[in-house]
Symmetry: C2
Subunit: 119 residues, 2 copies
């Protein structure tokens, strides 16, 4: 194999599973982050091109599998309802980001060591 492989890159992905079923990953992270940004499940869903129903079923599945409440809905109020993330949801996001960040660095380092010059 030619030296260098100048364009060759390693990619990695992590996700969490419970009982073989996906519990949390990149898509659900984006959903939680969007709920945090918009303060609303329906606006978050729209931004991610999901139906409200689909977004809601993702949230329910995550909450059920992880055994904790992740999204707090506020009902009514001056500007109508809204949604915020619970402390557990924020911690989950933070931990998942840490896990992923550390990983990407290590994968890159290992990849460089193994693949840097020749096959």
């Amino acid at each position: 194999m030619q030296k260098g492989h100048s364009g060759l890159k390693v990619k990695s992905k992590i996700w969490l599973e419970i009982g073989g079923e996906p519990a949390f990953g990149n898509g659900r992270r984006r959903l939680l982050e969007a709920i945090e940004s918009y303060g609303s499940i329906s606006q978050a869903a729209r931004a991610l091109h999901l139906s409200y129903r689909k977004a809601w079923s993702h949230i329910q599945a995550m909450e059920e599998r992880l055994g904790t409440r992740l999204v707090e809905r506020r009902i009514g109020g001056k500007h109508g309802g809204g949604a915020t993330l619970t402390r557990d949801a924020r911690r989950l996001l933070e931990k998942f980001d840490k896990l992923e960040d550390g990983l990407a660095k290590i994968v890159d380092r290992k990849f460089t060591a193994l693949f840097s010059r020749t096959l």
Copy 2:
């Protein structure tokens, strides 16, 4: 969140890309491994429920993107043609396995440290 999350597991996946296009990953690894086992592209394709055409196009794409020959076809001979992996292909498999193994261990360790008791 409840302590323990007894069933919560982290999963990880790696693959190689060149110019944003997949160059090598789990599926293509299985294909090369099957060619090695069966000594034949058509038998390998059958075992993986791929058409010969599809298997061949995966091989060509890998070889082109990685810039090296991975599968050597032997034509004719006493028992008809056959295929073997090149040294570069064996090295690629070995390096990819190493990268993945090391990774899984690290991800598990980091995951345990971050998620072991509570969110």
